[in-house]
Every structure is written in C-alpha cells, then in structure tokens.
C-alpha cells in the first residue's frame, strides 16, 4: 500500500538564513555605516571593511509571474541570485562587486525600471489593491498611484527635495494603506448613507453585530422585517456596516469621491503626526484622476518652494502654521476641515495667537 502523502501545515515562511545574501549573512550585525552614493544606490560598509551596494528600483507592485522571473534574471546576473524588497515595496539588488554596478544601473534603465527612492526623494507610494480585488474599494488605488507616479517621476529618481516625501493611497476608510501618517495621502470616500437591502440583511447578516458596527449608533434593529433601519442624519458614511454585512450597500458612483490629506509622518526624531484633511472632495475620475494628481502637485510644489532644507511637509506646515498653508496653497478652508468626531476639542485653537493669513 502506498504511503499517504503527509499533509503539511504551519511550516511558516522560509527561514531567513536561506534567503539572505551570503555576504550579508557573513557581516550580520557587524555593519559600520551606510551612505548614499547616488539616488537609489546605498553603500553599506561592515566593521571588517567589506562593501555592499544596495540598488533600489521601483516595481509596478501588481506584477505578472513573467515580471518576477525577469527580476530573478537580473538578480542572478548582478546580485548572486538574491534580492530583497523594502518596506515600501521597492526591490533592492545586493551588489558585492562594484564593477557590476554601472552595468546593473544601465540594465535597469534600459528595462524602464526607475532607480531612486532614497534620501530626500519621493518614496514608493503605499497603496491598496482597488478594483482588481476588493469589494469595498471606492477608487482604484493602483491606477491613481500610476497616474501620480507619472507626474511626480522626477522626484523619485532625484534626491533634492526639502525632505523625504511619503505618499499613501487607501481605496476606502478601512485604510489598508498607511494614509493616516503620510506626508500626502488620498482616501476614497462615500458621501451617502448605505441603502439597506432587507432581504440580504435578514438572510446573511447577524443583526447585533451589524448594529454594533456603527461608530455613531446610526443603525437600529427593525425586528418586524428581521433587518435594520439607518438614521441617515447620524451616518458618516464610514462603510463599516458594509464590511460586516453585504446588505448595507454603500457604493454610489454618482457621489463617491476622493479626499486629500497632508502633513503626517510616522518617524522617530519627533513625535509622529497624523495626516490632516486638506481637500474634502475631489472627483473620482478614472483612468488618470487629473484633478487629484494636480491637487497633489500643487501642494508638493508649494512645499518645495517654501520649505527649508530638511523639512517634510508636516514640519513645514508646523513652522508656518495651518492658516498660512491654506493661504499659500489656495485650498479653500471649509466646515469639513473642523473636526466634529469624538476627539475634536483638542484641535480647536484655544489662544488668540494666530496668523491672519
């Protein structure tokens, strides 16, 4: 009798010691310093003087298996069959032979892979998966990212911005991207309450869970129809009810939109800051979202013009004040900008000290 094939589970990811370049393993924990050589190229030097060049290139994030094999071909040729990805989803080739560096840079250029994203540059955009995968996506983040990248390309391959520039895009308020702490961010937004489908709610959804899912208590049970009703005045269109119950249909292409946020960061060297609302409404305008792209460009260009060296967007705004930010960018300030959710009061100005413009 043939032995039954063993069912393998819970093996976890491959062990890093099999995945890390042998020269990096040899110098593991023994690094002395690193320095920027050129945009996208960082030299790492170990205690015993060994030098490694990490070359950072951007990828389209959603790729084909063919692309990954090409990436492997490049890594086999220039970095001994090893490769690493960064926390912002760039790829890095690990070059131990300096003589190979120029050839690698040329090959990446010929293939159209942007090299950069180091130092004071535009970093790779963190974004969600959008209409290619997700049921709650209001916008298509991969498409908007591509449109933004095309417009801001130069800032990725250069490193002479005032500070680093981190952009994130989330397709909806679930915010699978890191929009809440980014220099500049877009979030897909609804503007109308969900439409309750009593049939689906009664068949597929657990009513207490659904009622509890609403942060503003806008959903009440309607036992007579084994469904719920929505107090539309209380609804703030977060879509959490739709996430827990498909009967709370909230997509509404006529009204759905984008919002733009600025000034967040998640780094050390100063307390981290949340991104703050800059523009409450921008049209959801695929395939290239020109209004959103231009709005981002305007803020970035204003920052480049006015910021001191070393200032990220949030640092710059903190120095000049938000009132000056709205003046310089020409973005209208509206009632939407004044917080009215649960932690609002500490954001109100409790002093007579402010700038007129």
């Amino acid at each position: 009798m043939a032995a039954e094939k063993k069912y393998i589970t819970d093996i976890g990811p491959p062990h890093y010691k099999e995945m890390v370049h042998p020269v990096l393993l040899k110098n593991y924990g023994k690094w002395r310093y690193h320095e920027y050589v050129a945009p996208g190229v960082i030299k790492h030097v170990s205690m015993n003087g060994e030098e490694v060049y990490m070359v950072r290139a951007a990828i389209p994030k959603i790729v084909s298996v063919y692309f990954v094999r090409e990436l492997c071909d490049i890594a086999d040729k220039y970095s001994d069959g090893y490769v690493k990805f960064t926390s912002r989803h760039n790829v890095e080739f690990i070059v131990t032979d300096k003589k190979k560096l120029d050839a690698l840079l040329k090959e990446l250029k010929d293939r159209g892979w942007p090299v950069g994203g180091t130092g004071r540059s535009l970093k790779a955009i963190i974004h969600t998966q959008g209409w290619v995968h997700c049921h709650t996506a209001i916008i298509d983040a991969p498409g908007l990212a591509k449109a933004l990248y095309d417009e801001l390309y130069e800032y990725f391959v250069r490193d002479d911005l005032p500070g680093k520039l981190k952009i994130a895009i989330a397709c909806c308020l679930n915010m699978c991207g890191a929009v809440h702490c980014s220099d500049l961010a877009f979030v897909g937004m609804h503007r109308k309450p969900p439409v309750v489908n009593d049939d689906i709610v009664s068949r597929l959804c657990e009513i207490p869970t659904l009622v509890a899912s609403c942060p503003t208590a806008a959903i009440r049970p309607a036992p007579e129809k084994k469904s719920v009703v929505v107090n539309e005045d209380r609804c703030m269109y977060c879509g959490n009810c739709y996430t827990v119950c498909p009967g709370m249909f909230i997509h509404n292409p006529k009204y759905d939109c984008l919002s733009m946020w600025v000034g967040g960061n998640a780094v050390a060297g100063g307390p981290p800051e949340f991104s703050r609302l800059a523009i409450p409404y921008l049209p959801n305008n695929p395939p290239r979202w020109p209004e959103a792209v231009q709005a981002a460009k305007k803020v970035i260009e204003t920052w480049i013009k006015h910021a001191k060296k070393g200032e990220r967007i949030g640092d710059w705004i903190k120095r000049i004040g938000w009132e000056r930010f709205f003046t310089l960018t020409g973005i209208p300030f509206t009632d939407k900008h004044i917080d009215d959710f649960i932690f609002s009061v500490p954001t109100f100005r409790t002093t007579t000290l402010f700038k007129w413009r």
Partner: protein
C-alpha cells in the same frame, strides 16, 4: 479596437505599468483576461464589481485565503470565483531567486499569475484563483517551503525591517524575532479566533522603517539604554571635510550634545535616542551596547474610533533568544483582549474603553512616566478596594 480603452491610458507615461503586467497574463490565460475585462468595466462605471468573500479556504486553516466573487452575470464574467491567497513572506522580505522562481511556477499553474509584491501587511499576495485550485495550490506551496499568512480576525502576518542583515543601527535581531514569533504564533495566525485583527511589527531602531508605531497593534522597536557611542576621530574627520558639527549639536532636540571644536560629548541621561545625530554623522556615531526593545501598544488606522498611534507600555525589555519574556507578554495581551473586547474592537480601542489602569493590572506591567506625555489634568481617578484597605 481595444477591449480596454480606459486601462490602456494607464500604459502611458514613464512609470512601469501594472496594466501592462496584467495584460501579459491576460494574453495567455483567459481566466486572467476575465479579471482584466472586469477591471475595465469598473473604470467605466466607477464602481467595484467584487462581492463580499464567502467562506473558502484550505483544510485545517481559517485564514490566509480571501474569498472573492464577481457580481457580474455569467455571460459577462464567466469565472466569478477569484480568490486571493496571502503567503507569509520571509523575514525582512529577503528572497533567493530560486525560491521566487518556484513560487512563480506554482502560481502560474493554479491562478491568474498576478502577484502583488507585497500587500500592506507584508504578505506576498497571489491575486485570483478559483475555489477548486485553492487546496492543491496550497499543498504545492508548502511542498516548496511557503505557507499562508493571516487574514480575518487573527494574528496577522508579522513584518520586520532588514535589521542586522545590512544596517548598523539595528539594536536587535529583527529577522530572528520575526521568524521566532511567527513560528510561535502559527496557530493564532492561521486560525482566526479573536475579536478582530492583531498586527505585530518589528523595527530594529527608533527610525522604525516598518512604521510599526503607526500600523501595528503591537510595535516592537529596538533601542538602547546606555549611551550612544561616539568615535571622536571620525567626528574630527567630518569636521575637516567641512561638516558643521556645531550645527549637528544645535539640532539635537533635547540639547544632549556638546561640541567644543575638538570633541563631541553626549549627556547620556538627556538623550532620547531620536537618531538625528546618527543620521547626520553615520561614520562617527553608533547606538549604545545595552540593547533591547521598547514595546508600544494600540497603533491602528481610523476605523472605528479614529486612528491611534501606538503608546509605550514597556520602555525597555531585553530581547534575546528564545525571547521568552516577549512571547509571554504577547500571550497575556492576546488573552486579555480576547476575554474583554467586543466584536471588531482592536486592542487600542479596548484600552481606551477600559483604561490603561485595568490593562496594566491585567498583564502585570508597572505604570511608569515613560508611558505618557503628561499626567492627567482631571481629578476623576479610581481606587481599587485593595488600595483602600492599605490606607485603613
């Protein structure tokens, strides 16, 4: 005429195009082409055409597969099942090309061939496979050494920075902690049983390259509690090259650096480990030797009560193999959260609702000033009966 006139617009411009990538698969796989055509339709109608996921998965697991069905009629979308597999990434996203090629071969066989490198939490995302392909695809993945990551109400796949593999600032072995914790919590990652998701991220130093502080329910960040190490010869070498050392000292936020033209001195007890001087003079300054981790709790994005940044719950803990103290603390936190949280309540929101006082007591952590920016300004604090007994 093109079947995808709107998506074609995203093939233009200097940045590499994901649409080009999708088209490469669509050209050889009708299944992938159907997904591309549905995407075109979403671009036209400005709305998603995916429905809520059903219960799909692989034998013995509750997480790792996201069920996905099209809402379009079968004449438009003949292959409505387009599920996603989350595959746990190796620590620090390091790969051998051998491993990546094997992964591609399996995925080309069973799915669309679209890969998202990587998802926001950190996993390799294999985008789009029919229900019948899930089990054999999973079994072939494990046969080449890959496993699924987390999804739903479980401990999600962890992530960590590259740490000691190439960075002189890493105070801890991020890759090893990632791998050890991932193996310790395999059951919690693969079998959802919690109120909601729980994310753990590990950064080697306070620069926090994986943004653990903003994005993880539990952030483990390398640090030191002695003094930075200054190589005076290297400082003088920088000065000789024209680097303004006085300006570096002046920019130290807590004013812990002094430069007399010959020597750069630090007042260790004033240093807050912001990394600014290490970044300015990388050849001259390194982290101290008494290394460990600071642990922060509660970071999350906005849904539901607003975004939280992680806050300090353990200012310093040694992090040496086998990380017993760290593992025990995480188990205690998971248990307390599991016992007390409402459905879809993250740990940060639970602490906000029940108070740090109750949390600290439950997991046995002492209150220390490092946990807050400022003490409370209101008089509404509580006494436990035991504390009143002590007064008598």
């Amino acid at each position: 005429m093109s079947e995808t006139p709107l998506l074609d617009e995203l093939e233009k411009g200097p940045w590499p195009s994901f649409i080009k990538e999708m088209k490469r698969m669509a050209a050889v796989k009708p299944y992938a082409k159907n997904v591309l055509l549905q995407l075109e339709r979403s671009y036209k109608e400005k709305v998603t055409h995916w429905k809520h996921g059903g219960i799909v998965g692989v034998r013995g697991y509750g997480g790792g597969v996201i069920g996905r069905y099209s809402d379009l009629p079968s004449d438009v979308m003949p292959t409505p099942e387009v599920h996603t597999l989350r595959v746990a990434q190796p620590a620090g996203w390091f790969y051998s090309t051998k491993a990546l090629r094997k992964l591609c071969d399996v995925w080309e066989k069973y799915g669309t061939g679209f890969i998202n490198l990587h998802g926001s939490t950190g996993d390799i995302i294999l985008l789009g496979a029919p229900t019948a392909a899930l089990q054999p695809c999973f079994e072939e993945l494990t046969s080449i050494g890959f496993d699924l990551g987390g999804s739903g109400s479980d401990v999600r796949s962890l992530s960590c920075c590259g740490g000691p593999a190439f960075c002189q600032w890493s105070c801890i072995d991020t890759l090893d902690i990632y791998h050890e914790l991932t193996m310790e919590f395999q059951d919690e990652i693969h079998r959802p049983r919690f109120p909601y998701k729980f994310k753990i991220k590990i950064s080697g130093c306070p620069n926090d390259c994986v943004a653990a502080l903003a994005r993880a329910d539990l952030a483990i960040i390398g640090t030191w509690r002695d003094s930075i190490k200054i190589d005076q010869d290297a400082v003088r070498e920088y000065a000789k090259q024209g680097v303004n050392i006085a300006a570096v000292a002046a920019r130290c936020p807590p004013q812990a650096l002094e430069w007399d033209g010959k020597e750069l001195r630090v007042i260790p007890e004033d240093c807050t480990r912001c990394m600014k001087c290490l970044g300015a003079l990388p050849k001259a300054i390194l982290p101290g030797d008494d290394r460990g981790v600071t642990i922060l709790l509660g970071g999350k994005a906005t849904i539901l009560q607003g975004a939280f940044l992680g806050w300090v719950i353990v200012p310093f803990m040694k992090a040496e193999k086998p990380y017993t103290e760290l593992k025990n603390l995480i188990r205690k936190i998971l248990d307390w959260w599991d016992e007390n949280a409402r459905t879809r309540e993250r740990i940060g929101e639970l602490v906000y609702r029940l108070g740090m006082r109750n949390f600290l007591k439950a997991v046995g952590l002492p209150p220390v000033p490092q946990m807050v920016y400022v003490p409370r300004a209101n008089p509404y604090y509580f006494w436990s009966p035991e504390e009143l007994e002590e007064v008598k």
